[in-house]
Amino acid sequence: MIWRASWRHHARSPWLLALAVIGVAVGVAMVAGIDLANSAARRAFADAIATVTGTATHQVLPGPNGINDADYARLRTSLPQGVQAAPVIEAEVMVADHPGRVLRLLGVDPFAEGAFRSGLLPIGGSDRSDFSLPRFLTEPGAVVLAQYTATELGLTPGSTFLVRVGGRRVALKLLSTFQPAAGFNARALRGLALTDISTAQEILGRVGALDRIDLLVPAGSEAALAVLLRPADSELQPSGARAQAIQNLTAAFHTNLSALSLIAVVVAMFLIYNTATFSVVSRRDLIGRLRAAGATRAAIAGVVLGEAALLGLVASLIGIGAGIALAHGLIGGMTRTIGELYATVPDAGIVIEPLALFCDLLVGVLATVVAAAVPAWEATTVPPRVALGRSHSESAFRARLPWLALCGVVLMAAAGAVMLTSVRSVAVGFAGLGGLIAGYALVVPIGVVAGMWLLRPIARALFGPIGAMGVRSVVSALSRTGVAVAALSIAAAASLGIGVMVASFRATVDEWLTQTLVADLYVTAPRPIAAKASPQALSPTLVTRLLATPGVAAAVPKRDVKVRSSWGEVSLSAFDHDDRAMGRFRVTSFVGSASAAAAWQGYVAGNGVLITEPLAWRQHLHAGQTLRLRTAQGEHDFPITGVVVDYANDQGQVFISGALYRQWWRDTAVTSLSLTATPDVGRVELERRLRAQAGGDDVVFTASRDLLDTSLAVFDRTFAITDVARILAGVVAFIGVLSALMALSLERTREIGVLRAHGCTPGQVVALVLTQCGATGLIAGLLSLPLGLAMAQVLAAVINRRSFGWTFPLALPPGLLAQAVGLAVIAALLAGVYPAWRMARTSPAAVLRDE
């Protein structure tokens, strides 16, 4: 019976329910969309690695000098009983006629493969009639592709195509195609080019070299294997470690996206609170009568909470549907960003995971029920048969304001304390941020009262009594408008906080790149999208020719490699530069009383290495300590002379002088050259001469300006998803204000009718509502500024630091501040258009007939 009465009440104002459903649905869509896209990217990584790893339990990984056929032969002949081994070469190559299209070249030994990737290859017992093992082994450039990859590239068996490899163009021949065997993820095979290991060595110009040796090791044999390892810089590790390393690489990225998606849910919670509050306040009479008729407090609370749960369920189901669509829209941009920042993501498809979606559903329903808890409690306080007027309930709400504000301040202080308790946990950082937002939301209503008190004389002076009434009406319905203002404030603050953080970060990166990119031209081998994944060396003869080109005033050869450290793989860059290049490094930490210059000179002189801030942060390292790296001569401890600012790699990097690197790794290869033109030649002419020198070698020349632009474009794409979150949070806040205004318009029908009876024209009613909206938006916008700036500070100094190890100073672009206020005002004004139109149509006759 109570439910029936309740349902009939809602049926009278279905738009209010609809708005709440939309708000929650948008929030859940954001969470589900990012969740699905995140897991799709993770799964794509895992599937791709599992595909090429096969059943291997361990891998022998090389140092910078690699491992070779001889190492493999030696290992194979001395393997303990029961251990199997297979050599592998794996590299990314670019398809010359399909810009941006990358193939993962997997070179394997068909005779050693059997137990490792037996389901993958049409080798070793394959019944494929068009596959010829002899041709696979002997034909130059012979590769095998999945059927749909061949179709995408427009290839048929027998056709040839060009790929770009380390500065060269190499012709490959499609020997045959295959359909993925049962148990293989078809998407993971997209872009996989299988070839014989010797063919791969020829294609990659690394004859005799191997990337790794896969092992099938029975439990307990690992120790016996370790002693067999040669050369000394190679390493035995479980095959799962590689997948884990990739997952670790992107963990912070995914965590930040998930946290971002929760902003929309938080804003949606205010919307639910508002809807539930309205449903309670507007039913005080009904609730009072039900209580008089014997309904218990628990029954009343149960109805309110039950309604909220039902609403949350319906909205969450809709949100999940929208989230699946959103995930399809997000995955392309997300995998591209991950590819640019971390490693190439194979084709990632959205897979519906019932458990994950159930969790998203739970988030939506729980958020709704939690938001409705306070109104439900309020409903139980309605005494039987007593119908209190709105003014009384508003008075009661206003009486609670100081307490709410006090709770808010305490909550914010607690949030700050929580963030300080754990200086490294990202989750604790986000929990602190959540506490800060929740605490601030409790302070907002008293801020509204103060703001409107200041605004009222101004509104009166500008718009007369209509202005005063508009402003005052915000305060007189504070239990309603306060929540709408809080929701709008948080959305605007999130927009401002993220905006300030991103703008500050971008400005810092821009400045850093400008300082760093001091040369005129950068020469590298053509790189796949995920440049950091596999730096390829320039051919030594090409380097010699380029360095000898007339017009080169200065040259800094650089070698980028991945080396093993005590915690795993680390990027290492070896430079051959002098003191003049010091300006490109900003040393932020150095040993004791030494100076930044001393740290630099120690590095140049080969007394130690410089490490970047993210590495120092992640590995708890600081200047004066030593860094243990696996060199060609075994492990060696390198003194850390200083910590430098660097935004190129969030996993951290080691800088070492060229001489010191060559001394320990005996590697003279060059990955890139930074070249400065003599004044009389200039960049354009130097590039022309260098291109002529390069001849047939496929190398990339990039001007510093282009490199800077490209880097900033990557930066912008990385943060593009924050715009989606900001927009969706704004949409939910807009719906919140609209919902609050619609509820108010319902409650104020009599007041507006009386005003109309007194001679207020429809235009004046519109002006009244829009003044109310403008004041709401203005106060929400102004109140968003402190929270937004605090959020920016937390995002920069806590979240970014803990997630990526970067530090950067906050900048305060006035445009962003104005944008936050403007956003709130415009959202509120837009939200007011329909309620204003609706109220202007209020018939005074109908109101007076009710007298």
Partner: protein, 236 residues
């Protein structure tokens, strides 16, 4: 005795008014050819059962509802021929309302409620403010000028409503059950106050009521029955 002929000095004139309301598929006729007049400065008490059309008549006179046929002429202006906006502007300049439920604007102070109509009309000046102050003083609420309605008692709210109905110097006051929500003593005081202020202002007033006490301040008494006005003399 049905009222039919209008004197040439009529301030308010209703000519052959017809008013129907749609109810479901059909309709309900409240007035069919109703005619009446009120002279300037008269106070009329309007009685009738609930649903007899008292409020409808007030709405027609205020220009809130247009008649389906006939003329509603107030001080020479035919409201039936005016558009909605013109009627609204006419109402705020020439008509004062007193409602049973006071209907003060909760977001405005007592003084602001008094000044609402002149401000809506863009005519708030020192003179109107002085009038408002004087009226508040006269109704005994000068000290509560800055109070919001929810801080005033029912009697106080109605006194503010009476003052608010007069501050813009309307020629016609329409009061709909002005004492309906007040206790007997307060109602009597309120009626006396209303009559005194209206008489002094020289305004015309129509008071729709169930209270026989109102007849004591009226020049004439109308009783609405089946859409027809029956008249008797007041007790003034």
């Amino acid at each position: 005795m049905p009222f039919s002929s209008a004197p040439t000095t009529a301030f308010v004139q209703l000519d052959a008014i017809t008013k129907r309301y749609r109810e479901g598929a059909g309709g309900r006729t409240v007035f069919s050819g109703l005619s009446a007049h009120i002279a300037k400065g008269e106070i009329i008490a309007l009685f009738g059962r609930s649903g007899s059309g008292k409020s409808t008549l007030l709405n027609l006179l205020a220009g809130i509802d247009p008649p389906d046929a006939g003329r509603v002429v107030i001080d020479g202006t035919d409201l039936a021929a005016a558009n909605e906006r013109a009627r609204t502007v006419f109402r705020r300049r020439n008509i004062g309302f007193v409602f049973q439920s006071f209907n003060l604007i909760p977001t405005l102070t007592a003084m602001e409620n008094l000044l609402l109509r002149v401000e809506l009309d863009g005519r708030a000046d020192a003179a109107s403010r002085a009038r408002a102050t004087a009226l508040l003083d006269e109704v005994g609420l000068a000290a509560r000028a800055d109070s919001f309605p929810d801080r005033l008692s029912g009697g106080e709210q109605q006194r503010v409503a009476v003052a608010a109905a007069l501050v813009h110097q309307p020629a016609l006051i329409l009061a709909d059950e002005p004492t309906g929500n007040l206790d007997e003593h307060t109602a009597a005081t309120m009626l006396a106050l209303l009559a005194r202020l209206v008489r002094r202002a020289g305004a015309t007033m129509l008071v729709a009521t169930h209270s026989s006490e109102v007849a004591a301040i009226a020049d004439r008494v109308w009783t609405l029955h089946d859409g027809v006005i029956q008249e008797r003399a007041g007790e003034v």
